[in-house]
Amino acid sequence: MFDGRFEIVSNRKIAKNTFEMVLSGDTEGIRPGQFVNLKLEGFYLRRPISVCDFAPGRLTLVYKVVGHGTACMAELAPGAVIDTLTGLGNGYDTAPSGDKPLLIGGGAGVPPLYALAKALLAEGKKPAVILGFNARDEVFYEEEFKSLGMEVYVTTADGSYGIKGFVTDAMDRPYTYFYACGPEPMLRAVYAKTVTSGQFSLEERMGCGFGACMGCTCKTKTGHKRVCKDGPVFMKEELPW
């Protein structure tokens, strides 16, 4: 964990209720699949946001406006400085991915897969990604993933864009391993359908975000785990689903 101050470079809407915030600050030690925890003026608890992309001195967050906190985040202007805890969570393990891993993201679960895709590509692997949304106006980052030079499949529940249906309707293709992030119902559907091993990133209401308060504990086959500290990424084999 690192305690740093990040300055907003840009903060723009990229889809329905979805914003991309680029910040400048010390990103040392950040890994794909981790999250940061933001202290917003006027709110007591921090806001945990998954890391979408990062480079030396630059951090990109893509977040959905779901409550007062994220709504106030969306109002923040470039130049604003945010007290931010970074390097939180375990992050993804790219070692077991094989050469054709499948990345599966649903809605707000899409962002962390972007940094992961970059990492896998950097290791010479050929990841493909499925991006699931409810409707066309919620679709984001399709171009960003494509410009990494990877296969991208977009699904929408109402069929208003890409493949009609859920992410599981786009999974019938060969892959060596998977990484899934999204709402629990989606993760459970993926869990039921996948043939290979893989990793899930879970979400839970957090208190501290660094393992102290036991606010986000979940049950796994290997015992009680803190989503914020022992997770948010869990092996398929660990989950009691």
């Binding site: 964990m1 305690d3 202290k39 709110f43 007591y44 608890l45 921090r46 906190g69 805890l85 839970e204 209401r205 957090m206 208190g207 501290c208 660094f210 393992g211 102290a212 308060c213 036991m214 606010g215 986000c216 504990t217 979940c218 049950k219 009680h224 500290k229």
Partner: protein, 305 residues
């Protein structure tokens, strides 16, 4: 040079700052961030006889200047705490720790306290008879003077180290309960535990927390905690550990002026992992500004005003 040391029933602390039980685990997470030996002590995660998962999530909700939690006494159980957590702790923390013990029966309280009492490195036992988040998880003991006294007597009978009873603020007469504990032999009183509260999710039209209610902590409860420390100070002679929303060195001074001999810092640790360390560091400077030479001199100082 100001003197920040305080004494709790013969146990001298270099400063009165004690991270509160449930916000500091067994110390490990925070030791990754700073040398926790700068603290006066810390109160470890409420420990019960059996291992507990606690309540189903969600366990956390946000409030104005505070938070609700309904963790429900998740802990590895006294065996693992003694066999695994304490040995780990001794490597990173070289001061006496406050052992926070919870239970579901008088026997359980007595058994766990007797066992933890024998452990090297345990300086003080804080008996939590006020957890609001588990069914008869102590709070029932902490809301009635008679049963609070029974737990106190049972624990005192089998322990040698100072026993502090941690009280619930969810009562009509906190002073009566504190007095009952003192009369039953408690070496000190520790308060306040969290105030019972709740939040409702407007979209789901259901409680945010699965357990329905949770314990309110954070700056929101500070004035209530301060008032109860004040009332208990006028009711008992034993030392008081004051807590509830303490977030700054000035809050520490305010708690001590109300009657606290030492102060626990809770929710603040969760929002800022360095909060307790910062408070320890700010304390001397704040003391100088307020012309306080020896911190012990101001305990209960606002009562003589």
């Amino acid at each position: 040079m100001v003197n920040t040391s305080v004494t709790l029933s013969g146990l001298t602390l270099t400063n009165p700052v004690i991270p509160a039980s449930g916000t500091f685990g067994y110390g490990v997470e925070f030791a990754e961030n700073y040398d926790i030996n700068c603290l006066g002590s810390f109160s470890f995660k409420g420990t019960t006889r059996e291992p507990r998962f606690g309540n189903e999530p969600p366990r956390i909700a946000e409030t104005a200047s505070g938070m609700l939690n309904a963790v429900g006494l998740q802990n590895p159980g006294i065996d693992k705490v003694i066999s695994e957590e304490l040995p780990k702790l001794r490597k990173i923390f070289h001061k006496p720790v406050v052992a926070n013990i919870s239970g579901f029966s008088i026997d359980e309280y007595a058994e766990c306290c007797e066992r933890i009492d024998r452990e090297e490195g345990v300086g003080l036992i804080e008996v939590n008879i006020s957890c609001p988040n588990v069914h008869n998880g102590g709070m029932s003991f902490g809301t009635d003077p008679k049963s609070a006294a029974e737990v106190t007597r049972a624990v005192k009978a089998v322990t040698t180290k100072p026993v502090y009873m941690k009280l619930s603020p969810n009562v009509t007469d906190i002073a009566a309960i504190a007095r009952a504990c003192e009369d039953a032999g408690a070496d000190g009183i520790s308060l306040i535990n969290t105030l019972m509260g709740m939040r409702i999710d407007l979209k789901r039209r259901a409680p945010v927390i699965r357990n329905v209610t949770g314990g309110l902590s954070g700056p929101a409860v500070f004035p209530v905690a301060l008032r109860m420390v004040w009332q208990v100070y006028e009711a008992v002679k034993v030392p008081i550990i004051g807590m509830g929303g303490v977030s700054t060195a000035e809050d520490v001074i305010e708690m001590m002026l109300a009657g606290a001999a030492a102060v626990e810092v809770g929710a603040a640790n969760l929002v800022d992992p360095l909060a307790s360390k910062k408070i320890v560091e700010e304390l001397p400077e704040v003391m100088e500004r307020l012309h306080i030479e020896n911190l012990t001199d101001i305990i209960g100082g606002a009562h003589h005003g």
